[in-house]
């Protein structure tokens, strides 16, 4: 618990440091203000930008709802990258796995006409299975032939996106009367219930029960890693696969298992996006989430609680960033810079210590990913 508080404190300091650097970036890129020498305007831009960044992420029910909605897929796909890291694998394929899971859950969502209490869990499970199968391919290829997962997952991402494009044009998936690749809507019963549905049915509160799915998945991830033999063997393989093999663990099966779970988590991310956020599928279903997920996992050190905290932080930044772009002329892309800086500052505690003159021992971090493996 003490370690946790300490690392939270560093995350907070890293956040402050990143916001400082971000402020400098906003000021020096304000070309008009610089030309006219009007620094007062530049500084008020910074103030307004950060004010709406904060308000857009935490101030009021709507902002909190946006933060939760943004966090949900980031957390699930972050777990997909984290569990692979724990097993010594670098999963760049969360995007493809999300697409696969999104499509299978979509199919359950519109093809069956059951009651909600059956449809929703069934569709989420279908997403997990679809993603797991797709993720498992990369694991199987690595275990059987040694094909490196960095290559295979990148290729599988492209394959998935074309597969989805094709599926969305088939009569099974395409919405009637639409020429563009957009799917049929899922049935009302299959929609993940809105979290703030009790507030007079306000439609602008987009947060949905996918967040609860994500929290349960995080709990499952914690349980798997810390309380099961598979989890122990997975961690052992990730730390030193030769030693794990020597100790009699089936490292090749563990690779497949890690990728199956990774794909399952990412598949659920796709499922919650389809069932909760959109209610249908399009080609932009996965967006950049699979890529952001890598940063979530790295920032969270692949630990369950770390992944949760960093997904929340990134989700909040995303929600705030949108309102920042809407209210000021600072583009939302600043969020990506802030994320990079936070990751950097958290990873380099020595630097933050030097900046804030903190005098305490730093929690040792160790390597996330032990080389490329063999």
């Amino acid at each position: 618990m003490k370690d946790l508080l300490k690392s939270l404190r560093y995350t907070l300091l890293a956040l402050v440091a990143s916001l400082l650097v971000g402020a400098i970036i906003i000021v020096i890129t304000d070309v008009d203000a610089l030309k006219s020498g009007d620094f007062g305007k530049a500084f008020s831009t910074v103030f307004n930008a950060y004010k709406s960044l904060f308000q857009g992420s935490f101030w009021g029910v709507r902002s909190i709802s946006n933060t939760i909605a943004g966090t949900t897929p980031l957390l699930l796909s972050g777990l997909a990258v984290s569990i692979a890291f724990k097993g010594g694998l670098f999963n760049i394929g969360a995007t493809g796995q999300m697409l696969a899971g999104g499509m299978t859950s979509l199919w359950v969502g519109f093809a069956f006409d059951g009651p909600g209490w059956l449809q929703v869990p069934l569709a989420v499970a279908a997403g997990a299975i679809g993603g797991a199968i797709f993720g498992g391919i990369a694991g199987l290829l690595k275990a059987r032939t040694g094909a490196h997962e960095v290559i295979t997952t990148i290729m599988l991402n492209s394959i998935a996106s074309f597969l989805v494009l094709w599926l969305l044009k088939t009569t099974l998936f395409q919405r009637e009367g639409r020429p563009d690749p957009i799917s049929k809507p899922i049935s009302e019963a299959s929609r993940l219930p809105r979290l703030f549905g009790f507030l007079d049915g306000r439609v602008d509160l987009v947060a949905h029960a996918g967040f609860i799915v994500a929290l349960l998945a995080t709990l499952f991830y914690w349980w798997l890693l810390k309380r099961t033999t598979v989890g122990f063997e997975l961690r052992a393989t990730g730390l030193n696969s030769d030693a794990a093999k020597y100790a009699g663990m089936k490292t090749k099966s563990l690779m497949v298992i890690a990728m199956l779970f990774a794909g399952g988590f990412a598949g659920m991310a796709g499922a919650t996006e389809v069932l909760g956020t959109y209610g249908y599928a399009s080609t932009s279903l996965a967006g950049n989430i699979g890529f952001d997920a890598i940063a979530v996992a790295l920032l969270g050190q692949s630990s369950p609680i770390g992944t949760l905290v960093s997904a929340l932080l990134f989700g909040a930044l995303q929600a705030g960033g949108r309102s920042m772009q809407a209210n000021t002329d600072v583009p939302v892309d600043l969020i990506i810079v802030l994320r990079a800086l936070i990751v950097m500052f958290v990873a380099a505690p020595l630097l933050v210590k030097a900046m804030f003159r903190v005098k305490s021992q730093v929690v040792s971090q160790g390597q996330t990913f032990r080389g490329w493996g063999g």
Binding site: T145, I151, I154, W166, A340, V343, M344, A347, L350, W372
Partner: protein, 409 residues
């Protein structure tokens, strides 16, 4: 003794996989590519000399060749020739795929291959940047960021001054990012993957931010006339080959030269030996008096410079402007090329060619009417890469010390 047995068992399994791979190619060729009658016309020169292949017969012949290859591979293998056989087989397979797809029509083969070579530039240069780092023991995930930042500053620098200056600015941007990677991963010993990824994000964020905030209101910061192709005297007159390899921009020639030079330097110079030693067993290198830290710093900076020039290819070598996320993940493809080529410059170059070919084919192939949904044709290059990597390339061994910080003692 024991390990020898283990390796040979692995090799046997690998050889068997390759054999089955050839068998797979044979099945696809015979079952799919032999289905469409008609002549496929390939334009071999810009003036219109063309090669006409009867698609169906061609598929039958090469299907049988693949069966023979598979049998030979499974029974006795090709020994030292196996990689040559593999690349020839891949080329023939791609050709029969194309002749099937174009049956009854014609298209410019030379144009597509020219496009392939041009597109290979950023992937090759990015991959060389990766090799320079990883051979000396630092994982470089930041290739994408270096390419993207190089593309941005190259575009702005070239728009404001001239193309040479733009390229130099792009190079220096790569060096700067590499310096950040070096300071954090070598000096502060931060996890190399984390720093690399943070650099990627930083480059993506800052270039998107700046292009929205600075380039959009000031369009003259982002418009330039890209370089023209140069025909190499004599070499460009070679039929077919000349048009593909020697009527290209200076970026292409630079990437050829860089591959050749790095291969020579890595295996024939003192620097190369030291680099490889630092990547495999830095303690031993350090004991023998190599300054591992300094070596890694220097290699990272060179890598940044090379990748930065690779980034400049977008604005200065082709499109003449910068767009948000213009690299579109090519840095990760370069990373895949490094692994594909087993950390060898020539291997990575051939990997880059394979991925660039996939891209060029993808851009061409959407127009063909084959009766198969175009999405599957678009997907085909990636599937082929997957099959090639899984069936033929197999496990690759990274430099042993890549990813681990070095303690100086």
């Amino acid at each position: 003794m024991n390990t020898e047995l283990l390796v040979s068992a692995e090799q046997k399994k690998h050889a068997r996989n390759v054999g089955f791979g050839y068998l797979g190619l044979a099945v696809i060729t015979l079952a799919v590519f032999s289905r469409r009658p008609g002549d496929a016309g390939f334009k071999l020169t810009e003036s219109g000399t063309s090669l006409t292949l009867p698609a169906q017969q061609f598929a039958w012949i090469f299907g049988i060749v693949f069966v023979a290859l598979a049998a030979a591979q499974l029974l006795r293998g090709f020994g030292k020739l196996s990689s040559v056989v593999l690349s020839l087989a891949t080329a023939v397979f791609v050709l029969s795929f194309l002749s099937w797809a174009t049956a009854g029509e014609s298209f410019s083969l030379v144009g597509m291959l020219q496009d392939t070579v041009s597109r290979s530039v950023p992937i090759t240069l990015g991959a060389l940047g990766g090799i320079l780092c990883e051979r000396s023991g630092v994982i470089n995930i930041a290739i994408e960021g270096m390419l993207l930042a190089g593309a941005f500053t190259g575009a702005v620098g070239a728009s404001l001054t001239n193309l040479w200056f733009g390229t130099i600015i792009a190079m220096l941007t790569g060096v700067f990012l590499a310096w950040i990677l070096a300071v954090f991963s070598i000096k502060y010993r931060v996890d190399q993957v984390i720093v690399g990824f943070a650099i990627n994000f930083f480059a993506l964020g800052i270039t998107s931010f700046l292009s929205f905030r600075v380039l959009v209101p000031n369009p003259d910061y982002n418009s330039l006339v890209p370089v023209m192709p140069i025909s190499v005297p004599l070499l460009s007159k070679i039929p077919f080959i000349g048009q593909i390899f020697f009527v290209q921009t200076i970026f292409v020639y630079f990437s050829f030269a860089a591959v050749a030079f790095l291969t020579w330097a890595m295996y024939r110079t003192r620097w190369g030996l030291r680099t490889r030693a630092a990547g495999e067993y830095p303690k031993a290198a350090g004991t023998l008096g190599v300054d591992v830290i300094k070596l890694r710093y220097r290699n990272l900076m060179i890598a940044g410079a090379v990748a930065g020039i690779g980034g400049a290819w977008w604005p200065i070598g082709t499109v003449g402007r910068f767009d948000q996320n213009i690299t579109g993940g090519r840095g990760f493809i370069a990373l895949a090329a490094v692994i594909f080529g087993r950390w060898h410059p020539v291997g990575a170059f051939s990997g880059a060619m394979v991925f660039a070919l996939a891209e060029a084919v993808r851009l061409k192939i959407g127009n063909f009417d084959t009766g198969i949904p175009s999405e599957f044709l678009l997907m085909a290059p990636y599937l082929v890469t997957l099959v090639v990597v899984a069936g033929f390339v197999g496990a690759s061994r990274a430099p042993k010390a890549a990813g681990q910080p070095y303690d100086e003692q």
